[in-house]
């Protein structure tokens, strides 16, 4: 367990004196003032407001997606709520859902558009987790074989006793129904569209509005065909995985 947090941040550029003054100022601000202050300080809020230029590829009422100017790979996208949040636990649940629905759709887009074979979705909450911007964002990184990205997620041996302790701690206020073993198997919700292929054929036109269905359908088909010709096919990706 980490001890009380130390008074230091690795990215610190201000003098200790300045930090103290700023902290004092922040402490005395009302939540509204703080929000305004954060917005003014936040480069991503400036981008969202259109005051700073960016390569925007997606935009809706709640969410914006721009190309990262320092990408891990070409097509690296930053998906952000337009509202200023520092970390994910501050975001209302429905907005979280929407952000990741956009991430999914854009992952689908990049698989098809950039001839990549995978994607990583990464969120860092807190400096210790590698967060560098003060605006919450989801990184969507298109991946290819041998693209020189090496994430390290070591495996540790966690003793059974500790696992039990942690499980009890974590599930404390999750409103969990989970118990130790012995629960009857939960019935899997039938969706009717479980076959992978059917899922995809249904889905793309399904996103259109009825009126546009006819015309767009043709385009979609053409696009899917093009994708499979270049070997980029979601079903393939899924199948390769299944074979493992």
């Amino acid at each position: 367990m980490p001890e009380q947090p130390q008074q230091q941040a690795p990215q610190q550029q201000m003098s200790e004196e300045q930090v103290k003054v700023l902290q004092e100022k922040l402490k005395n601000m009302s939540p509204e003032e703080l929000k305004e202050f954060q917005k003014k300080q936040c480069i991503f809020c400036q981008i969202i407001a259109g005051k700073v230029q960016s390569k925007k590829v997606y935009d809706d009422e709640e969410v914006i997606a721009i190309l990262d100017v320092n990408p891990a790979n070409p097509g690296h996208l930053l998906i952000m709520p337009k509202e200023h949040y520092s970390i994910m636990p501050q975001i209302p649940e429905d907005e979280v859902g929407h952000i990741f629905m956009v991430a999914k759709a854009l992952s689908n887009v990049s698989l098809r558009a950039l001839e990549v074979q995978g994607s990583n979705i990464i969120v860092a909450n807190g400096v210790a987790a590698g967060q560098r911007a003060q605006h919450f964002m989801v990184h969507l990184i298109p991946r290819k074989d041998n693209d020189n990205i090496n994430f390290q997620i070591p495996q540790k041996n966690i003793p059974e006793q500790e696992l039990k302790k942690i499980r009890d701690l974590l599930s404390k206020n999750l409103g969990t129904k989970a118990k130790e073993q012995g629960m009857p198997p939960v019935p899997v919700i039938p969706t009717g569209k479980r076959v992978v292929e059917a899922e995809f054929k249904e889905k793309k036109p399904g996103k259109k509005r009825e009126v546009e269905k006819e015309t767009k359908n043709k385009e979609t088909k053409k696009e899917v065909k093009k994708s499979s010709e270049s070997g980029i096919n979601l079903d393939d990706i899924a199948k390769v995985l299944g074979a493992r």
């Binding site: 201000m14 949040y85 636990p89 859902g97 400096v127 500790e162 899922e199 979601l234």
Partner: protein, 187 residues
């Protein structure tokens, strides 16, 4: 065929209670278990009960539920494990490091110098390369209609400052405060 998939999929076996696990959360669509070989103690897998190999196959509602649960667990990690940070990590496809053919969200508690590295070295792209990528993505978005994503039911348009009361952790937000404070200090 679906049954066969489930028999050969370790995650489906966990969902069906045929393989023991440490469950942290469970609802109709989603299960969260501890990774017994976690990167840090408290490393959780958030998984859909239905079998989907990759994220593109997960229906929107299920996906929203999954990430909602991941977020709750992330909050719980801050609050109950006193972590200094959390990562949400998804590997989609083998080049991305996916090893199990069942969609999984990793929620990983973090502290300084814990041996986990999710950083990357930025690649230098010319303005022209950036513009090409931008164009390709935009074309594809038009073709498959990402712009038509409808906000989920009950979702509201947010404007104005967020009220303090809307933050999920309100009882004991000491640690969240710590994170927020740190965020505020990043120049």
């Amino acid at each position: 065929m679906a049954d066969k998939t489930r028999e050969s999929c370790l995650i489906c076996q966990i969902v069906a209670n045929k393989v023991p696990s440490h469950k942290v959360y469970e609802d109709d669509l989603t299960l969260a278990v501890l990774d017994v070989n976690g990167a840090n103690p408290g490393h959780c897998f958030v998984i859909p009960k239905n079998h989907y190999p990759i994220i593109e196959q997960v229906p929107d509602q299920e996906l929203a539920n999954l990430f909602g649960v991941a977020n709750k667990i992330s909050s719980s990690i801050f609050e109950n494990l006193k972590a200094q940070g959390t990562n949400i990590f998804v590997a989609n496809g083998i080049p991305a490091g996916q090893t199990v053919a069942h969609f999984v969200i990793n929620v990983i508690p973090r502290k300084e110098n814990d041996g986990i590295n999710l950083q990357w070295k930025p690649k230098q792209l010319t303005q022209e390369e950036m513009s090409t990528v931008e164009l390709k993505l935009k074309e594809q978005i038009e073709n498959i209609g990402v712009g038509k994503i409808e906000p989920i039911e009950g979702s509201k348009t947010l404007s104005g400052p967020v009220q303090a009361g809307t933050q999920p952790i309100s009882e004991d937000d000491e640690d969240e405060d710590y994170i927020s404070r740190q965020m505020n200090r990043i120049p």
